[in-house]
Subunit: 219 residues, 2 copies
């Protein structure tokens, strides 16, 4: 087991409810695994075909180009992530603290459940032409906006206090993103423990130590 793996996970998981079937789906799963482990440019169409149990030419019966495969993977990944955090927040109470806990738990949960999908969606997106990545960037933006709205409401209500709300979004989002790289079921921590821990971290990060941010200056 080499130490210089790109991520700790070893198996690719596509969404159980994906509408893809047969070879089309196996190609997608193989692409997720290979893109995650070696990167988009280093994973050849021949590699993907072999991993999917198919010949290279067959791939082009399902996808118009290698780039479109990546675009589909990124779209699926960001769609599931946004769906997850959105439904979690909607299912929580009206207290911004509950909403942040729900958001971060769902966010981390996505990265522990679909680590390879998360790695590809986040670190290979830049190779896509804007035409193919526009939808995905919109989804990412919506996820960020959702967190920022929660934080803004929390600051107005006095539950949260941060020097800069955008910086808090970047910090909380960033620490969640990295989970996909190191998380593994054999790591010693369960997915639930990581989600709970990060939710607690996010709460601490947003709430001033004196407990009531109303009395300190904000930007």
């Amino acid at each position: 087991m080499p130490i210089n793996r790109r991520l700790a996970a070893t198996t690719a998981r596509l969404l159980p409810g994906s509408k893809q079937t047969g070879s089309s789906r196996r190609v997608l799963e193989a692409a997720i695994k290979l893109f995650a482990e070696h990167g988009y440019a280093s994973a050849s169409v021949r590699d993907i075909a072999a991993a999917a149990g198919v010949k290279p030419a067959t791939i082009y019966a399902h996808y118009p180009s290698k780039e479109h495969i990546l675009a589909e993977v990124c779209r699926i990944g960001h769609e599931e992530q946004y769906r997850g955090v959105r439904s979690a927040v909607l299912g929580s109470g009206a207290d911004p603290r509950d909403q942040i806990v729900a958001y971060v738990s769902a966010h981390v949960g996505f990265h522990t459940t679909y680590p390879m999908l998360a790695v590809v969606s986040n670190s290979e997106l830049h190779v896509l032409r804007e035409e193919l990545s526009a939808t995905t960037f919109l989804l990412r933006r919506q996820s960020e906006d959702l967190m920022q709205e929660i934080i803004t409401r929390g600051m107005q209500g006095g539950q949260f206090h941060v020097p800069d709300r955008w910086l808090a979004v970047a910090a909380i989002g960033g620490m969640g993103l990295r989970v996909a790289y190191w998380f593994s079921p054999e790591h010693g921590l369960t997915a639930g423990q990581v989600a709970d821990g990060y939710a607690e971290f996010a709460l601490r990060l947003l709430a001033a130590r004196d407990g009531h941010g109303k009395h300190t200056a904000a930007t």
Copy 2:
């Protein structure tokens, strides 16, 4: 200005004190910029040569292979990062809170000063064979261990309280890593503001909200 850039920074900075000179250094700087923007596999030797104002074959007079160029970049990046956090911590007081502030400020400072170097060092390292990445992984490990030691001392002294100390290292480290991707001098926040903000975030994250972690259970 396309939206799907891999990172916000536009200019590569090599360390001012690097011993490299002339073409050798220009090749290194060009490689940092191209590896950061397009990834190791997508940046060809011909691209690097053109950016360095040199012909492809000339590169092999300075580096034995493309892989060795990346290895050198990763080594320089991790060396500077470790040097930075280490000297910052040594220059701070004995209070773990001061040490964490010093560590995180230096860590974030590295990622805002050398964003391209940081992006390459952290996200392209996995393509290196173990033989070429061993030194770099050692440096990364030392940086992580340093933060963990600070946190451990802070927990023993009652200043810090976290459910899992390794999880705290991962969270603080992860949020700092991401800074290299979005930070830009034109972003609205100065490097100092980001460093101060993240240092504050790290302190909050480590210190229980009741202010004295001694009274709550630890794992």
